[in-house]
């Protein structure tokens, strides 16, 4: 339970970082923290204390695997979502570099050509 709680704390920290910080690099870090907290949560969903890898090795009964094996699906999902997160991160950093070339600043409060 405490682990779930900690992943929520991480989520809230990410949100704070995203909202309160003005530097766009820090905003990007905020988004990454949010993504990772959700990945952590997703891994915890499939966690089982004392679990084994869900592979049927020689000499192991199917029932034993069912009792002890962890759920492999959340791990697969987290892998996918990490890759997606990487794609988003790469795009964010590229945009950030381009913005620095144009505006000569990382401060979001000084980047305000649009009305919103």
């Amino acid at each position: 339970m405490i682990l779930y709680f900690l992943s929520m704390v991480l989520l809230v920290m990410g949100l704070y970082c995203l909202i309160a910080k003005k530097n766009i690099i820090k905003k990007i870090i905020g988004i990454v923290i949010i993504e990772y907290s959700i990945n952590l949560f997703l891994v915890l969903v499939g966690y089982r204390s004392g679990g084994v890898a869900p592979i049927l090795v020689k000499g192991m009964q199917v029932e034993e695997l069912v009792q002890k094996g962890v759920d492999p699906l959340p791990q697969a999902l987290v892998l996918t979502s990490i890759v997606i997160g990487l794609g988003t991160l790469a795009l964010m950093v590229a945009l950030c570099l381009r913005m620095y070339e144009k505006f000569k600043t990382f401060d979001m409060s000084k980047i305000n050509t649009l009305k919103g």
Binding site: I31, I38, L42, L73, T80, G87, M99, T113
Partner: protein, 500 residues
């Protein structure tokens, strides 16, 4: 056709990467690849309309273990909208995108976006939906910033940050759903949730989904990115974003999940109706004062999506009579299709105007009807449709939605719909006056009609506006009824699991 169903995502996905390779040999080739791919997809999508509902197990893995694709009335309808509008946008792009550099990269991102949207629409698996949602979103973030000017980059970054939060909310919701039910297959989820009922956790998931998908659909409290992002993109992309993307990623997903997975619910219905009415009013009021052609259209998108959401909300009400629910749903779906047609028409005509005059500022434009008669007439038809003038299609869909609201006993929302209809008329009359009629500024005295590749999509879309208005009965019978039935029949959706 059934065995070819995954090709709706596979073809554009493969073409996106192939395009980049082939464009190393010749820059010309990417125009043809994009045209060919969207053309093939459009033909396939139209053929899908005549298929009975079916499911497709990817890689022959039996559902609920493998990923399942579902084809029913609603996904066929959305596929037609996505593929046809993207075909017309590609034709428009061939000429318009000569204003930018790196055309092959543009087409690759465009095709990726189509792959993502088609994937969202055809999938029957929750996580698969998230993956395709991200593919379409990431491509659209990049496309918004394609001009790499100050405004474009800022808009793109803003969209990216908010879109990232939305995706996180969706993934969080999916994680919760998996924790509760232990499955990701959408029909299976529907069955499990039927047993579990509306617990607090499920309610939290609903809230996360309304936030996540609502941000993609730019419902009002989450709308801040849209008026920046849509005008900053190149015109064909604005047409795709406003015309299709917010519907495929936002409204379609909300409809599919709320109707087919969570089922009808009083609270969800009330929330969606309220947010829809709020979007209608606020989007409409903000559109009035705008001085930028595309910005006004972007605000109007928020307002028009409000109509669709109010209709969806009404149909979600468990106590509503079946007649009212299906009337509201047919009105909402019809307005969704209509909005895709006339909003892409308007954005494309704004692109044609910008291509010839070099500006989108309403104060610098005027009297273009004489100089650009075809573009002008198409733009006028689009404006009349969206403002709800008979016999164009926008009139019928708004009429049906408002009638359904009154029949369902929602006098206030119905009246709001009527008033927002007038507001829409006001700002589109203003738009007409500023752009098409009035005095031609001296600086624009030697402009010509837009080239054929740009005029052709405009004419086709304008003809569609008229045809769908006059041939409403045919549209309803072939497109809207199957889609509305697919949404209202939750049991049929749950039965897809058994290979129905």
């Amino acid at each position: 056709m059934q065995t070819y169903y995954p090709l709706f995502t596979a073809i554009p996905l493969a073409a996106a990467f192939l395009n980049l390779l082939l464009s190393k040999i010749s820059m010309k080739v990417s125009d043809y690849i994009a045209f060919l791919v969207t053309g093939i997809l459009s033909v396939m999508a139209v053929r899908m309309l005549f298929e009975a509902p079916f499911t497709y197990a990817v890689g022959n893995w039996r559902a609920p273990f493998g990923i399942m694709l579902v084809s029913d009335g609603l996904s066929s309808l959305m596929l037609v909208v996505i593929c046809v509008i993207s075909l017309l946008s590609v034709i428009f792009s061939t000429k318009y995108m000569t204003m930018y550099t790196a055309k092959p990269k543009y087409y690759s991102l465009f095709l990726l976006m189509i792959a993502g949207m088609n994937g969202v629409v055809i999938t029957g698996d929750m996580f698969n939906l998230y993956v395709f949602l991200e593919i379409a979103s990431i491509a659209s973030y990049a496309l918004v910033g394609f001009g790499t000017g100050k405004k474009e980059l800022e808009a793109s970054f803003k969209y990216l940050v908010l879109g990232g939060v939305a995706s996180a909310a969706v993934l969080f919701g999916i994680a919760f759903l998996y924790a509760i039910t232990g499955t990701l297959n959408m029909p299976d989820l529907a069955q499990q949730l039927e047993v579990i009922g509306m617990t607090k956790t499920v309610g939290f998931v609903v809230a996360l989904f309304i936030m996540g998908f609502g941000l993609k659909a730019s419902i009002v409290p989450f709308h801040a990115w849209l008026p920046d992002a849509h005008p900053s993109a190149p015109a064909p992309i604005s047409a795709m974003l406003s015309g299709v993307l917010i519907k495929a990623l936002g409204v379609y997903t909300i409809m599919r999940i709320m109707f087919n997975i969570f089922g009808k619910n009083e609270l969800i219905s009330a929330i969606i109706m309220f947010l829809g009415a709020l979007s209608m009013v606020i989007g409409g009021l903000l559109a009035i004062g705008q001085k930028d052609f595309k910005r006004m259209l972007a605000y109007s998108s928020i307002s028009q999506m409000g109509y669709v959401l109010v209709a969806i909300g009404l149909a979600l009400k468990p106590g509503a009579e079946l007649v009212v629910a299906s009337l509201a749903l047919i009105g909402g779906l019809f307005h969704l299709v209509n909005h895709a047609v006339f909003k892409s028409l308007l954005f494309l005509s704004s692109g044609a105007v910008e291509y010839r005059t070099g500006t989108r500022d309403l104060e610098k434009l005027g009297g273009l009807m004489k100089k650009m008669p075809v573009t002008g007439s198409a733009c006028a038809i689009g404006s009349l449709s969206i403002a709800g003038i008979p016999p164009f299609n926008g009139f019928w869909s708004k009429l049906i939605i408002i009638l359904a609201l009154f029949r369902g006993g929602y006098w206030i929302y119905g009246s709001v719909g009527v008033v927002v209809g007038f507001i829409t008329l006001i700002y589109f009359v203003m738009l007409q006056k500023e752009v098409l009629f009035g005095k031609l500024p001296d600086s624009l005295s030697n402009i010509r009609e837009a080239p054929f590749a740009m005029v052709m999509p405009l004419v086709v879309l304008a003809a569609l506006c008229l045809a769908m208005g006059i041939g409403y009965m045919a549209v309803e019978g072939h497109l809207l009824d199957p889609a509305a039935n697919a949404l209202l029949d939750k049991v049929a959706y749950m039965n897809y699991l058994v290979g129905g």
